[in-house]
Amino acid sequence: MGVLFEARGLIKRYGHVEALGGADFTLNEGEVVALIGDNGAGKSTLVKCMSGVESPDEGELLLRGTPITMASPSDARKHGIETVYQDLALAPELGPAENTYIGRELLKPGLMGKLGVLDKKTMRAKAAEAFTSMGTDVKDLDAPVSALSGGQKQSVAICRAVMWASGIVFMDEPTAALGVRQTRNVLKLIRRVAETGVSVVLISHNMTEVLEVADRIEVLRLGKRVARYDAADSNVEQLVGAMTGALDTGDIK
């Protein structure tokens, strides 16, 4: 399992505020990494820098060892990096299949495609296939997304990201708005995503959830990475200690 993606010494300033003060981040192939930190630790800024929403002022991003720059989320997508936003960015009036193809609609082959005619059948079939293979309970492809449950909406957004990601999916608080049972399903879904070989970066506040689903955990405090753990041999106290600075941790280069 080699290193897939790496951020080195990222610095991002907003005016006088330094949101990231030389933050590092490492992601291996096919793993789930949780990125945790207290409010204002720079989690969102770090993810924005790594998903093309913002450009870091200093530092570099390496994808499979090659330095890359991303000026926009579209650039990130070209590198196979997808993001599941906290607000999901779904079109509520459209169906689940239609939502997975926003901005990337398939056109029919030949003349019809040149005229801009959609290949609805293929899109529907492929979306249905993704929903099934990911084991989601999204079954009614005709219902608008607004009629789905919170967990199903989340599933649609995650499946969309996985369908298009060739390497990395960032997920911003994917279970924040969900009930217990739906949270279970989404966590299962995240594991399945990793099994397909796509690496997942999970931002979360929920420590038990993090310990359950992640392979590794990276802790951010005051704009810097302060600790890295294997989920198997860490506990909630350790994580909270690292987040708040109550605990000084080793294992960091």
């Binding site: 607000d87 079109a91 509520p92 901005g103 609609e105 959609l118 079954k139 009629a147």
Partner: protein, 330 residues
Amino acid sequence: MTATVTPARRVRSKLFGATAFYLLGVIVAMAIVFSIIRPDAFPTFANSRNILTDVSILLVIAVGTTYVMVAAGFDLSVGSVLVFAGVMGAKVMAATGGEGWTTVVIGLVVALISGVVWGVFNGVCITVFKVPALITTLGSMGAALGIARLITNGNDIRTVPLSMIKFSVAEFLGLPWIVWIAAVVAVVGGVVLHVTRFGRRTYVIGSNDEAARRGGVNVNAHLIKLYALSGLCAGFAGFLSLVRFSTTTITGHSTDALQVITGVVLGGTSLFGGIGTVAGTVVGMFVSAVLNNGLIVIDVEPFWQEVAIGFILIVAVYIDQRRRRRRSRA
């Protein structure tokens, strides 16, 4: 939440949306009532032809308005753009001279360009300068009509090429050509909205413009195209109006936008975007057309139609709001 949705129902709901389907019933009911009151005058072929001819020009505008409203936009300027385009077309045709088809085609092109220019102006103000659509198009509604009046000193232009006058009375299968042209515009507009990527993105933007943006859609460019399309339709309608009346009818279009928006909303297009079909719009437009015609046939003061349309718009929006609230609660 089960797979009990039959293909037939899916097609039907895709085509009309539930609201417009019941609206068909309303139209039939109105037709029956008017037919009972005036069996000699309402249910005749000549009268049906009148209704179709009346609805044609507004329907062409309504197709463009449907696109704009599906994308959660708004265009009040269509009536004035219609007049402006008609005036420009008539002026250029008069300046070109001649009674032949070349002159007519030049007039048509000028009318279409005039419409598109206003549409692009609206679109740029709304997307680039972030002026709300309501205000932008209210402003261009006033400005377009004002310029049309400046050009003509407020007097209608009544000189149109002879071939255009001949065309206005020519028929195909018993109906004026204007009716067929409007039908083609509606069919093409409906198909493009339903099956193309352009149409799909129109729905996405209306439903959640941020989702479109994050999906890599250039939302501003798309919206400008939609307002340009609305202007194009209004410009084309201006030319058709010129064909039908052989004059520019400067003062006759102050309520066009109201009538069109009423028809579009009645037809199931949501004011909040993301929902709507051209087929629904066609049905919606026929509600006011049948009502208008029927009231005239049974000798009710035609002003009542304006009263009715105004209230119908309010009721239609009320229904739309309630549907939306119910959904967001779910």
